[in-house]
Protein backbone atom coordinates (compact mmCIF):
# COMPACT_ATOMS: atom_id res chain seq x y z
CA UNK A 1 0.00 0.00 0.00
CA UNK A 2 2.73 2.42 1.00
CA UNK A 3 4.91 1.78 -2.08
CA UNK A 4 1.85 2.52 -4.20
CA UNK A 5 1.35 5.73 -2.23
CA UNK A 6 4.98 6.74 -2.94
CA UNK A 7 4.47 6.08 -6.64
CA UNK A 8 1.32 8.23 -6.62
CA UNK A 9 3.15 11.07 -4.88
CA UNK A 10 6.07 10.72 -7.30
CA UNK A 11 3.73 10.89 -10.32
CA UNK A 12 1.94 13.89 -8.82
CA UNK A 13 5.23 15.70 -8.18
CA UNK A 14 6.62 14.98 -11.65
CA UNK A 15 3.33 15.95 -13.28
CA UNK A 16 3.29 19.22 -11.35
CA UNK A 17 6.90 19.92 -12.26
CA UNK A 18 6.29 19.19 -15.95
CA UNK A 19 3.21 21.43 -15.99
CA UNK A 20 5.21 24.20 -14.31
CA UNK A 21 8.09 23.91 -16.81
CA UNK A 22 5.66 24.02 -19.74
CA UNK A 23 3.75 27.01 -18.41
CA UNK A 24 7.04 28.84 -17.78
CA UNK A 25 7.91 28.65 -21.48
CA UNK A 26 4.56 30.03 -22.55
CA UNK A 27 4.95 33.69 -23.35
CA UNK A 28 2.78 36.09 -21.46
CA UNK A 29 0.63 37.81 -24.02
CA UNK A 30 0.20 41.47 -23.29
CA UNK A 31 -3.13 43.20 -23.37
CA UNK A 32 -3.83 44.29 -26.92
CA UNK A 33 -5.25 47.66 -27.77
CA UNK A 34 -6.38 49.21 -30.98
CA UNK A 35 -4.53 52.02 -32.70
CA UNK A 36 -6.63 54.49 -34.63
CA UNK A 37 -5.26 56.10 -37.76
CA UNK A 38 -4.83 59.84 -37.29
CA UNK A 39 -7.26 61.97 -39.23
CA UNK A 40 -6.12 64.62 -41.69
CA UNK A 41 -3.86 64.94 -44.72
CA UNK A 42 -0.25 64.59 -43.63
CA UNK A 43 2.89 65.49 -45.55
CA UNK A 44 6.54 65.11 -44.55
CA UNK A 45 9.25 67.31 -46.05
CA UNK A 46 12.93 66.48 -45.58
CA UNK A 47 15.78 68.78 -46.55
CA UNK A 48 19.50 68.12 -46.07
CA UNK A 49 22.53 70.43 -46.10
CA UNK A 50 24.70 67.73 -47.69
CA UNK A 51 24.65 65.27 -50.58
CA UNK A 52 23.05 62.12 -49.22
CA UNK A 53 24.80 58.98 -50.49
CA UNK A 54 24.28 55.23 -50.11
CA UNK A 55 26.07 54.03 -46.99
CA UNK A 56 29.06 51.72 -47.62
CA UNK A 57 28.82 50.77 -43.94
CA UNK A 58 25.18 49.66 -44.10
CA UNK A 59 24.08 46.28 -42.80
CA UNK A 60 23.20 44.25 -45.90
CA UNK A 61 21.63 40.93 -45.13
CA UNK A 62 19.34 40.81 -48.15
CA UNK A 63 19.54 41.78 -51.83
CA UNK A 64 18.27 45.33 -51.20
CA UNK A 65 20.60 48.17 -52.03
CA UNK A 66 22.10 50.12 -49.14
CA UNK A 67 19.96 53.10 -48.21
CA UNK A 68 21.06 56.71 -48.51
CA UNK A 69 18.05 58.14 -46.70
CA UNK A 70 15.65 56.18 -44.52
CA UNK A 71 12.53 57.32 -42.66
CA UNK A 72 10.45 55.14 -40.34
CA UNK A 73 7.26 55.88 -38.45
CA UNK A 74 6.57 53.78 -35.38
CA UNK A 75 9.11 51.21 -36.58
CA UNK A 76 7.71 50.91 -40.11
CA UNK A 77 9.75 52.02 -43.09
CA UNK A 78 7.92 54.76 -45.03
CA UNK A 79 10.71 56.18 -47.19
CA UNK A 80 13.90 54.61 -48.51
CA UNK A 81 16.13 56.36 -51.05
CA UNK A 82 19.06 54.43 -52.47
CA UNK A 83 20.16 57.10 -54.94
CA UNK A 84 22.17 60.27 -54.35
CA UNK A 85 20.10 63.19 -53.04
CA UNK A 86 21.39 66.69 -53.71
CA UNK A 87 21.79 69.14 -50.83
CA UNK A 88 18.93 71.59 -50.37
CA UNK A 89 16.61 69.54 -52.57
CA UNK A 90 13.43 68.95 -50.52
CA UNK A 91 11.99 65.47 -50.50
CA UNK A 92 8.23 65.48 -50.00
CA UNK A 93 6.32 62.42 -48.82
CA UNK A 94 2.54 62.71 -49.08
CA UNK A 95 0.53 61.07 -47.58
CA UNK A 96 2.48 59.87 -44.54
CA UNK A 97 1.39 56.30 -43.77
CA UNK A 98 1.30 54.76 -40.31
CA UNK A 99 0.39 57.82 -38.20
CA UNK A 100 -2.00 57.13 -35.34
CA UNK A 101 -3.85 59.12 -32.71
CA UNK A 102 -1.56 59.69 -29.76
CA UNK A 103 2.23 59.50 -29.75
CA UNK A 104 4.13 58.76 -32.97
CA UNK A 105 7.86 58.40 -33.35
CA UNK A 106 9.75 59.32 -36.52
CA UNK A 107 13.20 57.84 -37.12
CA UNK A 108 15.54 59.44 -39.67
CA UNK A 109 18.76 58.02 -41.05
CA UNK A 110 20.89 59.88 -43.62
CA UNK A 111 24.41 59.19 -44.83
CA UNK A 112 26.78 62.03 -45.63
CA UNK A 113 29.76 61.50 -47.97
CA UNK A 114 32.84 59.89 -46.42
CA UNK A 115 35.36 62.31 -47.92
CA UNK A 116 34.51 65.34 -45.80
CA UNK A 117 35.06 63.60 -42.51
CA UNK A 118 35.74 66.81 -40.57
CA UNK A 119 32.34 68.36 -41.20
CA UNK A 120 29.06 68.14 -39.37
CA UNK A 121 25.88 67.98 -41.42
CA UNK A 122 22.25 68.83 -40.79
CA UNK A 123 18.89 67.46 -41.82
CA UNK A 124 15.52 69.15 -41.37
CA UNK A 125 12.20 67.34 -41.07
CA UNK A 126 8.87 69.18 -41.31
CA UNK A 127 5.49 67.55 -40.76
CA UNK A 128 2.33 69.15 -42.14
CA UNK A 129 -1.25 68.35 -41.26
CA UNK A 130 -3.87 69.68 -43.68
CA UNK A 131 -1.24 72.08 -45.03
CA UNK A 132 -0.35 73.46 -41.62
CA UNK A 133 3.16 72.96 -40.18
CA UNK A 134 2.82 70.96 -36.98
CA UNK A 135 6.42 69.80 -36.34
CA UNK A 136 9.75 71.21 -37.46
CA UNK A 137 12.97 69.54 -36.28
CA UNK A 138 16.65 69.80 -37.30
CA UNK A 139 19.36 67.28 -36.46
CA UNK A 140 23.15 67.52 -36.72
CA UNK A 141 25.67 64.76 -37.28
CA UNK A 142 28.95 64.32 -35.47
CA UNK A 143 31.88 64.78 -37.89
CA UNK A 144 32.22 61.66 -40.01
CA UNK A 145 29.19 59.87 -38.70
CA UNK A 146 25.77 59.46 -40.24
CA UNK A 147 22.65 61.10 -38.88
CA UNK A 148 20.43 58.71 -36.97
CA UNK A 149 17.82 60.55 -34.91
CA UNK A 150 14.26 60.22 -33.78
CA UNK A 151 11.58 62.66 -32.73
CA UNK A 152 8.12 62.27 -31.32
CA UNK A 153 4.90 63.91 -32.46
CA UNK A 154 1.67 63.67 -30.49
CA UNK A 155 -1.42 63.75 -32.63
CA UNK A 156 -4.68 64.58 -30.89
CA UNK A 157 -8.02 63.63 -32.46
CA UNK A 158 -8.66 67.28 -33.11
CA UNK A 159 -5.89 68.73 -35.27
CA UNK A 160 -4.28 70.55 -32.35
CA UNK A 161 -0.78 69.26 -31.94
CA UNK A 162 2.13 69.20 -29.52
CA UNK A 163 5.67 68.55 -30.67
CA UNK A 164 8.19 66.72 -28.47
CA UNK A 165 11.85 66.40 -29.27
CA UNK A 166 13.31 63.00 -28.47
CA UNK A 167 16.70 63.01 -30.08
Amino acid sequence: MRPAFVVVIWIALMGGLTLYMQSRETAVVGESYELHAAEGAFALRITTTFPVEPDPFALRTDDREASALLVKVNGKEILRRTDRVRPGEPIQLEPVPGLTDGRNEFYLEANPPLDDANLSYAIRAQLFRDGKLIADRSFWSEPGSRIASSFEVSLAKEPAVKDHDNE
Binding site: R2, P3, W10, L13, F57, A117, G144, A148
Partner: protein, 306 residues
Amino acid sequence: MSRQFLAMLVIGLISAASPLLTASASQDPSRNKPFILCSTTQLADFTRQIVGDRCRVVSLLGAGADPHTYMPTPNDARLALEADLCIQNGLNLEGKNWMGTLAKDAGKPVVTATDGLEPLVLDEGGMKVRDPHAWFTPRNAAIYVNNIVRAVSQLDPEEKSEYEARAQLYLQQLRVLDAWIRAQFNAIPPDRRILVTSHDAFNYFANEYGFKNHAPVGWSTGSELGAGMTPERRKMVIDSIRNLNVKAVFVETSVNPKLVREIAREAGVKIGGRLYSDSMGPEGSAGETYIGMMRENVLTILHGLK
Protein backbone atom coordinates in the same frame (compact mmCIF):
# COMPACT_ATOMS: atom_id res chain seq x y z
CA MET B 1 7.16 1.62 8.94
CA SER B 2 7.25 5.35 8.73
CA ARG B 3 11.05 5.15 8.21
CA GLN B 4 10.52 2.76 5.32
CA PHE B 5 7.95 5.14 3.89
CA LEU B 6 10.33 8.12 4.19
CA ALA B 7 13.21 6.17 2.63
CA MET B 8 11.09 5.16 -0.31
CA LEU B 9 9.83 8.70 -0.72
CA VAL B 10 13.41 10.06 -0.75
CA ILE B 11 14.55 7.39 -3.24
CA GLY B 12 11.53 8.18 -5.43
CA LEU B 13 12.22 11.89 -5.39
CA ILE B 14 15.93 11.44 -6.13
CA SER B 15 15.24 9.08 -9.01
CA ALA B 16 12.66 11.50 -10.36
CA ALA B 17 14.99 14.44 -10.11
CA SER B 18 18.09 12.65 -11.40
CA PRO B 19 17.42 13.27 -15.12
CA LEU B 20 17.08 16.99 -14.36
CA LEU B 21 20.30 16.99 -12.31
CA THR B 22 22.33 15.13 -14.92
CA ALA B 23 20.97 17.35 -17.69
CA SER B 24 22.04 20.54 -15.93
CA ALA B 25 25.44 19.08 -15.03
CA SER B 26 26.18 18.16 -18.63
CA GLN B 27 25.27 21.63 -19.89
CA ASP B 28 28.73 23.08 -20.41
CA PRO B 29 27.68 26.40 -21.97
CA SER B 30 30.69 26.68 -24.28
CA ARG B 31 30.15 23.13 -25.58
CA ASN B 32 26.54 23.72 -26.56
CA LYS B 33 27.23 26.96 -28.39
CA PRO B 34 27.79 26.95 -32.16
CA PHE B 35 31.53 26.78 -32.82
CA ILE B 36 33.04 29.07 -35.46
CA LEU B 37 36.61 28.52 -36.59
CA CYS B 38 38.38 31.46 -38.27
CA SER B 39 41.67 31.40 -40.12
CA THR B 40 42.98 34.80 -38.95
CA THR B 41 42.75 37.03 -35.90
CA GLN B 42 40.94 39.79 -37.83
CA LEU B 43 38.20 37.40 -38.94
CA ALA B 44 37.82 36.12 -35.38
CA ASP B 45 37.46 39.69 -34.09
CA PHE B 46 34.82 40.60 -36.70
CA THR B 47 32.94 37.40 -35.83
CA ARG B 48 33.09 38.05 -32.06
CA GLN B 49 31.75 41.56 -32.57
CA ILE B 50 28.72 40.02 -34.30
CA VAL B 51 28.02 36.92 -32.20
CA GLY B 52 28.94 38.23 -28.76
CA ASP B 53 28.84 35.31 -26.34
CA ARG B 54 26.30 33.34 -28.40
CA CYS B 55 28.99 31.36 -30.22
CA ARG B 56 32.43 30.04 -29.46
CA VAL B 57 34.93 31.71 -31.81
CA VAL B 58 38.51 30.53 -32.30
CA SER B 59 41.24 31.90 -34.55
CA LEU B 60 43.69 29.32 -35.85
CA LEU B 61 46.38 31.95 -36.28
CA GLY B 62 47.75 33.55 -33.15
CA ALA B 63 48.92 37.11 -32.67
CA GLY B 64 51.88 37.94 -34.90
CA ALA B 65 51.48 34.79 -37.03
CA ASP B 66 51.91 34.85 -40.80
CA PRO B 67 48.96 33.41 -42.78
CA HIS B 68 50.98 33.15 -46.00
CA THR B 69 53.42 30.60 -44.60
CA TYR B 70 51.30 28.96 -41.86
CA MET B 71 51.35 25.16 -41.66
CA PRO B 72 48.23 23.65 -40.01
CA THR B 73 48.81 21.34 -37.06
CA PRO B 74 46.94 18.14 -36.03
CA ASN B 75 45.19 20.26 -33.38
CA ASP B 76 43.89 22.55 -36.15
CA ALA B 77 42.43 19.50 -37.91
CA ARG B 78 40.73 18.48 -34.63
CA LEU B 79 39.27 21.97 -34.24
CA ALA B 80 37.98 21.88 -37.82
CA LEU B 81 36.21 18.59 -37.05
CA GLU B 82 34.51 20.22 -34.03
CA ALA B 83 33.55 23.39 -35.92
CA ASP B 84 30.04 24.20 -37.17
CA LEU B 85 31.34 26.87 -39.55
CA CYS B 86 34.75 27.83 -40.92
CA ILE B 87 35.58 31.36 -42.09
CA GLN B 88 38.52 32.24 -44.31
CA ASN B 89 39.81 35.48 -45.81
CA GLY B 90 40.27 34.06 -49.32
CA LEU B 91 42.15 35.72 -52.22
CA ASN B 92 45.03 33.31 -51.39
CA LEU B 93 45.87 34.94 -48.06
CA GLU B 94 45.86 31.47 -46.53
CA GLY B 95 48.94 30.14 -48.38
CA LYS B 96 48.26 26.95 -50.35
CA ASN B 97 44.59 27.25 -49.32
CA TRP B 98 45.25 25.70 -45.89
CA MET B 99 41.94 26.85 -44.37
CA GLY B 100 39.87 25.63 -47.31
CA THR B 101 41.65 22.28 -47.16
CA LEU B 102 41.10 21.90 -43.40
CA ALA B 103 37.39 22.66 -43.77
CA LYS B 104 37.00 20.37 -46.77
CA ASP B 105 38.79 17.47 -45.06
CA ALA B 106 36.56 17.93 -41.99
CA GLY B 107 33.44 18.18 -44.18
CA LYS B 108 32.54 21.59 -42.74
CA PRO B 109 31.04 24.62 -44.53
CA VAL B 110 33.53 27.38 -45.27
CA VAL B 111 32.64 31.03 -45.89
CA THR B 112 34.98 33.43 -47.69
CA ALA B 113 34.78 36.82 -46.03
CA THR B 114 36.03 38.73 -49.09
CA ASP B 115 33.20 37.49 -51.34
CA GLY B 116 31.68 40.37 -53.29
CA LEU B 117 34.66 42.64 -52.72
CA GLU B 118 36.44 44.24 -55.66
CA PRO B 119 40.06 43.16 -55.15
CA LEU B 120 43.06 45.24 -56.11
CA VAL B 121 45.04 43.57 -58.86
CA LEU B 122 48.82 43.79 -58.47
CA ASP B 123 51.29 43.51 -61.29
CA GLU B 124 54.06 41.29 -59.96
CA GLY B 125 56.64 41.05 -62.74
CA GLY B 126 54.05 40.74 -65.49
CA MET B 127 51.85 38.47 -63.39
CA LYS B 128 48.43 39.63 -62.23
CA VAL B 129 47.81 38.82 -58.57
CA ARG B 130 44.73 39.69 -56.48
CA ASP B 131 45.81 41.43 -53.30
CA PRO B 132 44.40 39.54 -50.27
CA HIS B 133 44.99 42.29 -47.64
CA ALA B 134 41.56 43.80 -48.14
CA TRP B 135 40.71 44.29 -44.43
CA PHE B 136 43.02 47.31 -44.30
CA THR B 137 40.20 49.73 -45.09
CA PRO B 138 37.17 49.99 -42.81
CA ARG B 139 35.02 50.19 -45.96
CA ASN B 140 36.20 46.68 -46.97
CA ALA B 141 35.95 45.52 -43.36
CA ALA B 142 32.22 46.35 -43.66
CA ILE B 143 32.00 43.82 -46.52
CA TYR B 144 33.69 41.20 -44.33
CA VAL B 145 31.19 41.96 -41.53
CA ASN B 146 28.20 41.67 -43.85
CA ASN B 147 29.41 38.32 -45.21
CA ILE B 148 29.99 37.01 -41.69
CA VAL B 149 26.63 38.21 -40.33
CA ARG B 150 24.85 36.44 -43.20
CA ALA B 151 26.78 33.22 -42.52
CA VAL B 152 26.20 33.17 -38.76
CA SER B 153 22.51 34.04 -39.23
CA GLN B 154 22.19 31.03 -41.48
CA LEU B 155 24.03 28.88 -38.95
CA ASP B 156 21.90 30.05 -36.02
CA PRO B 157 18.68 31.59 -37.45
CA GLU B 158 17.01 31.93 -34.04
CA GLU B 159 19.48 34.66 -33.03
CA LYS B 160 19.51 36.44 -36.43
CA SER B 161 18.04 39.70 -35.15
CA GLU B 162 20.59 39.85 -32.33
CA TYR B 163 23.50 39.24 -34.72
CA GLU B 164 22.19 41.95 -37.04
CA ALA B 165 21.79 44.43 -34.19
CA ARG B 166 25.40 43.88 -33.07
CA ALA B 167 26.62 44.14 -36.67
CA GLN B 168 24.78 47.44 -37.12
CA LEU B 169 26.56 48.93 -34.12
CA TYR B 170 29.93 47.60 -35.26
CA LEU B 171 29.46 48.91 -38.81
CA GLN B 172 28.89 52.39 -37.43
CA GLN B 173 32.07 52.05 -35.37
CA LEU B 174 33.88 51.19 -38.61
CA ARG B 175 32.39 54.28 -40.23
CA VAL B 176 33.63 56.46 -37.39
CA LEU B 177 37.06 54.77 -37.60
CA ASP B 178 37.24 55.61 -41.31
CA ALA B 179 36.36 59.27 -40.65
CA TRP B 180 38.89 59.42 -37.83
CA ILE B 181 41.67 58.04 -40.07
CA ARG B 182 40.91 60.64 -42.76
CA ALA B 183 40.98 63.41 -40.18
CA GLN B 184 44.31 62.19 -38.72
CA PHE B 185 46.10 61.88 -42.08
CA ASN B 186 44.97 65.35 -43.03
CA ALA B 187 47.93 66.46 -40.89
CA ILE B 188 50.43 64.85 -43.31
CA PRO B 189 50.92 66.74 -46.61
CA PRO B 190 50.04 64.45 -49.57
CA ASP B 191 53.64 64.58 -50.90
CA ARG B 192 54.91 63.11 -47.65
CA ARG B 193 52.44 60.26 -47.54
CA ILE B 194 54.88 57.51 -48.47
CA LEU B 195 54.59 54.22 -46.68
CA VAL B 196 57.55 51.82 -46.81
CA THR B 197 56.79 48.51 -45.08
CA SER B 198 58.24 44.99 -44.96
CA HIS B 199 55.85 43.30 -47.39
CA ASP B 200 53.28 44.54 -49.85
CA ALA B 201 50.30 44.40 -47.46
CA PHE B 202 49.19 48.02 -47.35
CA ASN B 203 47.94 48.66 -50.89
CA TYR B 204 44.25 48.98 -49.95
CA PHE B 205 45.15 51.23 -47.04
CA ALA B 206 47.47 53.35 -49.22
CA ASN B 207 44.87 53.72 -51.99
CA GLU B 208 42.12 54.72 -49.57
CA TYR B 209 44.09 57.34 -47.69
CA GLY B 210 46.28 58.81 -50.42
CA PHE B 211 49.62 57.09 -49.70
CA LYS B 212 52.27 55.76 -52.05
CA ASN B 213 53.28 52.29 -50.94
CA HIS B 214 56.65 50.54 -51.31
CA ALA B 215 57.82 47.19 -49.95
CA PRO B 216 60.85 45.00 -50.62
CA VAL B 217 58.80 41.81 -50.25
CA GLY B 218 55.87 41.12 -52.59
CA TRP B 219 52.21 40.48 -51.78
CA SER B 220 53.08 37.31 -49.88
CA THR B 221 55.98 36.30 -47.63
CA GLY B 222 55.58 32.76 -48.95
CA SER B 223 56.83 31.10 -52.10
CA GLU B 224 53.83 31.79 -54.34
CA LEU B 225 54.34 33.33 -57.78
CA GLY B 226 54.96 37.07 -57.55
CA ALA B 227 55.69 36.78 -53.84
CA GLY B 228 58.86 37.09 -51.80
CA MET B 229 61.82 39.45 -52.12
CA THR B 230 63.84 40.04 -55.27
CA PRO B 231 67.05 42.11 -55.61
CA GLU B 232 65.19 44.37 -58.07
CA ARG B 233 62.44 45.09 -55.55
CA ARG B 234 65.01 45.77 -52.85
CA LYS B 235 66.92 48.22 -55.05
CA MET B 236 63.69 49.90 -56.15
CA VAL B 237 62.65 50.47 -52.52
CA ILE B 238 66.04 51.97 -51.55
CA ASP B 239 65.95 54.25 -54.61
CA SER B 240 62.41 55.34 -53.74
CA ILE B 241 63.39 56.14 -50.16
CA ARG B 242 66.27 58.31 -51.38
CA ASN B 243 64.45 59.96 -54.29
CA LEU B 244 61.25 60.71 -52.43
CA ASN B 245 63.02 61.88 -49.28
CA VAL B 246 61.15 59.38 -47.12
CA LYS B 247 61.41 60.17 -43.40
CA ALA B 248 60.81 56.71 -41.94
CA VAL B 249 60.19 53.08 -42.83
CA PHE B 250 58.05 50.64 -40.87
CA VAL B 251 58.49 47.04 -39.76
CA GLU B 252 55.55 44.66 -39.38
CA THR B 253 54.55 42.56 -36.40
CA SER B 254 54.07 39.39 -38.47
CA VAL B 255 57.23 39.67 -40.62
CA ASN B 256 60.89 39.36 -39.61
CA PRO B 257 62.14 42.97 -39.31
CA LYS B 258 65.72 42.16 -40.33
CA LEU B 259 65.30 43.09 -44.00
CA VAL B 260 63.66 46.46 -43.34
CA ARG B 261 66.30 47.31 -40.72
CA GLU B 262 69.01 46.63 -43.33
CA ILE B 263 67.23 48.77 -45.89
CA ALA B 264 66.76 51.61 -43.39
CA ARG B 265 70.47 51.51 -42.55
CA GLU B 266 71.45 51.46 -46.22
CA ALA B 267 69.09 54.28 -47.17
CA GLY B 268 69.87 56.31 -44.04
CA VAL B 269 66.34 56.59 -42.64
CA LYS B 270 64.89 55.78 -39.25
CA ILE B 271 62.51 52.96 -38.32
CA GLY B 272 59.16 54.65 -37.75
CA GLY B 273 57.71 51.81 -35.67
CA ARG B 274 55.97 48.44 -35.92
CA LEU B 275 52.72 48.08 -37.82
CA TYR B 276 50.17 45.34 -37.29
CA SER B 277 49.76 43.69 -40.68
CA ASP B 278 48.61 40.12 -41.32
CA SER B 279 47.54 39.49 -37.74
CA MET B 280 46.49 41.57 -34.78
CA GLY B 281 48.22 42.08 -31.44
CA PRO B 282 48.23 39.67 -28.48
CA GLU B 283 45.50 39.75 -25.83
CA GLY B 284 45.91 42.75 -23.58
CA SER B 285 47.76 44.81 -26.20
CA ALA B 286 46.37 47.93 -27.88
CA GLY B 287 46.16 46.02 -31.16
CA GLU B 288 44.13 43.06 -29.89
CA THR B 289 41.04 44.19 -31.85
CA TYR B 290 40.63 45.31 -35.45
CA ILE B 291 39.73 48.87 -34.45
CA GLY B 292 42.64 48.97 -31.99
CA MET B 293 45.02 47.59 -34.60
CA MET B 294 44.00 50.20 -37.18
CA ARG B 295 44.13 53.01 -34.61
CA GLU B 296 47.63 52.04 -33.47
CA ASN B 297 48.87 51.70 -37.07
CA VAL B 298 47.56 55.18 -37.93
CA LEU B 299 49.19 56.71 -34.86
CA THR B 300 52.49 54.94 -35.57
CA ILE B 301 52.48 56.17 -39.19
CA LEU B 302 51.60 59.69 -38.08
CA HIS B 303 54.37 59.71 -35.51
CA GLY B 304 56.89 58.36 -38.02
CA LEU B 305 56.08 60.67 -40.91
CA LYS B 306 55.17 63.94 -39.21
